[in-house]
């Protein structure tokens, strides 16, 4: 049980950050970046989103194998996507914070896994 809990937590956090990043990259939300030219950030944000999704998949497969790893990844994907849609609808100002928090906590959990 505890064997899967930690990697799964990492995946949930990472996919959450990834979707928040992808959501920020949409035309509707890109203006939330308080920079002079937010449009410039769309491509980098998309890159972050897709690479973090890939990273989450990789860690899932490494830690749990193809079968369970894919199941965990798809499950985390669904949960994260729905969460980001709700945030984007009702608390859109949180998107940036969610991206950072998900990334940092996710990476933190990943490094914690190495020591457990």
């Amino acid at each position: 049980m505890t064997q899967t809990a930690l990697p799964l937590l990492a995946q949930c956090l990472l996919t959450l950050a990834a979707f928040a990043s992808l959501c920020l990259a949409t035309p509707r939300h890109i203006q939330r970046l308080k920079t002079s030219r937010p449009q410039q950030w769309r491509t980098p944000l998309r890159w972050v989103g897709w690479s973090v999704l890939t990273a989450a998949l990789t860690t899932a497969v490494i830690s749990s194998g193809w079968g369970l790893g894919l199941v965990e990844w798809f499950g985390a994907l669904t949960l994260a996507a729905v969460t980001v849609v709700l945030i984007a609808t009702y608390r859109p100002t949180w998107l940036k914070a969610v991206t950072w928090a998900g990334l940092l906590l996710g990476l933190g959990t990943l490094s914690a896994m190495l020591y457990v």
Binding site: M1, Q3, T4, A5, L8, L9, F19, L22, C23, T26, R28, H29, G67, L68, V71, E72, F74, G75, A76, L77, T78, L79, A81, V82, V84, V85, L86, A88, T89
Partner: protein, 548 residues
């Protein structure tokens, strides 16, 4: 009126429009049945937990109990209850899938003192006594409704369920085809915009769960394949029953099983077999011990591996000679590549392998899928009411019918499920047909909700039923506290996670239902006030439920 209640014409337009038509009607025609299947199937991911909540008398589950000890207790129980049986099946309490030690037997000799020709017992591993608890259908019956329905014969149930699943599969594919902007609209949900909001919600729920939906639907079809497409077997093996039996034998039967020799011989102690199996699979990973023809010279013992390390529905089996103890076969469940793929699909569908957190993800995906079907049904009605009222001022009969079925099912069925749990606590413990009455309570309640939906005004029906649903779920922990001593405070402080989990989950269902009812009620009141001051505007506001 009549022409408005019939199916829309299949449009002449392009490919996408046709697919939209197929999506709409494939989804609607079996929508309420699919909703039922989603609700009961989602509950099924916690089937044994619900079992345990519904039998609060049972002692704590002895999960992880010493295998040697469990096996010897079960063996003694089998000798006492079922002498001369053709089969004893011992299920060990290895994880949440089988929380209690269980004995199943068939073909026992009642003249030699067997209590019945076939039967099953939950066994207390400390005393060897049969565990006694109230009669209940439990989480198992609720889960079985997912594919057996209820009050129906197996002869046609498979066909109904398979057709519904096929329609769902078609609806999924056409849904992907007609959704032009899957990526662009991925994060889009615009609340309080009527039809638009329902479409957004339907899209978000479908797209985010799409991998789960495709997996669950196709694996569901594979479950039913042999009943639904029997001609494939017939074409390969012959159309008679013998051909079918031969096929099942080749694919599914355990190797090495034989007829009894009708010569008695004593059964080998299970200890050495258990040690052999555990040295292969690891300690505490034996799920089942299946003894065929115990006491006969041709006895066989099949030891099955737990399935917690594979997503597939079956794991390894070791077949031993029951007298000499010789290992005859080491048979993986996936006897061929195709069998392996089949096992993987079925395993993914049932999710028996899933550790707790993954189980919750399954449950959440199931709930979102339920929401997908529900929003699809509501969207159908909202869209048509809006169009009809724009043109003629009132909704046609077909739309009204769908609306009423929607209220009575989308809210009414969950109320029925709550009633199933209420009945478990409230029906007299000595009632002879207790388990059946639990199910009757569920379907009678659903029926009452449908009748209520039929006679109440549309908006009122929604709020009233939501209130009932909210109360029915949120009060379950109170009912549990009044009727057992395993109330929420107790279960939280003692770490009784099955009970705490059940109580908290029904609260987590009940409270949002109540909040929805409250918001809807408030919106309706606002609209009524607006109506009194400015009648023409309210009519437009009334068009859709989505604004609440």
């Amino acid at each position: 009126m009549a022409q408005h209640t019939t199916v829309d014409d299949l449009p002449k337009g392009g490919f996408r429009q046709c697919m939209a038509w197929v999506h709409t009607w494939a989804g609607l025609s079996f929508g309420w049945l699919l909703f039922f299947m989603f609700v009961t199937g989602t509950a099924g991911y916690f089937d044994t937990e619900i079992d345990r909540w519904m039998q609060p008398e049972l002692p704590p589950a002895p999960i992880g109990h010493n295998v040697h000890e469990s096996a010897s207790v079960l063996l003694n129980k089998a000798r006492e209850e079922a002498p001369g049986a053709e089969q004893w099946l011992f299920t060990l309490p290895v994880d949440r899938n089988e929380p209690y030690a269980q004995l199943f037997w068939r073909g026992a000799n009642t003249e030699a003192g067997a209590s019945a020709e076939r039967g099953e017992r939950l066994v207390d591993l400390n005393t060897g006594e049969t565990l006694q608890a109230r009669e209940t259908g439990g989480g198992q019956k609720l889960y079985q409704m997912h594919w057996l329905l209820h009050y129906t014969s197996r002869a046609y149930t498979d066909w109904i369920v398979a057709t519904a699943t096929l329609f769902m599969f078609v609806a999924l594919i056409t849904g992907v085809i007609i959704h032009r902007k899957i990526f662009k609209d991925f994060f889009t949900f615009r609340p309080r915009k009527g039809q638009r909001s329902w479409l957004d919600a339907h899209n978000v729920l479908s797209v985010t769960t799409l991998p789960f939906q495709l997996m669950i639907t196709y694996s569901g079809l594979i479950f039913l394949g042999f009943s639904y497409m029997p001609l494939i077997v017939a074409a390969n093996y012959g159309a008679d029953g013998a051909g079918r039996t031969e096929f099942y034998g080749e694919v599914f039967s355990t190797p090495g099983l034989t007829e009894p020799a009708e010569k008695s011989a004593s059964l080998i102690p299970l200890t050495t077999l258990i040690d052999q199996a555990e040295s292969r699979w690891g300690e505490g990973r034996i799920r089942r011990i299946d003894v065929r023809h115990p006491g006969d010279a041709n006895a066989r013992i099949v030891v099955s591996e737990n399935i917690d390390q594979t997503i597939a529905s079956g794991a390894g089996r070791l077949v031993f000679d029951g007298v000499s103890g010789e290992l005859l076969h080491n048979a993986p469940s996936a006897s061929s590549p195709a069998k392996g793929v089949r096992d993987a699909f079925l395993g993914l569908h049932e999710g028996l392998f899933a550790p707790p957190v993954v189980r919750w993800l399954y449950f959440i995906s199931g709930l979102l899928g339920t929401g997908m079907v529900g929003t699809g049904l509501i969207l159908w009605a909202v869209k048509r009411r809006q169009n009809a009222e724009r043109k003629r001022g009132s909704a046609p009969l077909g739309v009204v019918l769908v609306e009423k079925l929607n209220v009575g099912t989308v809210v009414g069925l969950p109320v029925g499920v709550a009633a199933y749990f209420w009945a478990n606590r409230l029906l007299p413990v000595d009632l002879a047909t207790r388990a059946s009455w639990e199910a009757h309570a569920m379907f009678l309640t659903w029926l009452v909700m449908l009748v209520h939906a039929a006679i109440r005004p549309r908006q009122r029906a929604w709020t009233e039923q939501l209130v009932v649903a909210a109360l029915a779920f949120s009060a379950l922990p109170i009912l549990n506290a009044l009727t057992t001593d395993r109330h929420l405070v107790q279960s939280l402080t003692t770490g009784d996670w099955v009970f705490a989990g059940f109580d908290l989950t029904v609260l987590a269902i009940g409270v949002p239902l109540g909040a929805t009812a409250w918001r809807m009620h408030r919106a309706q009141r606002k609209r009524r006030i607006a109506e009194e001051s400015q009648p023409s505007q309210t009519q437009r506001a009334n068009l859709s439920l989505g604004e609440t």
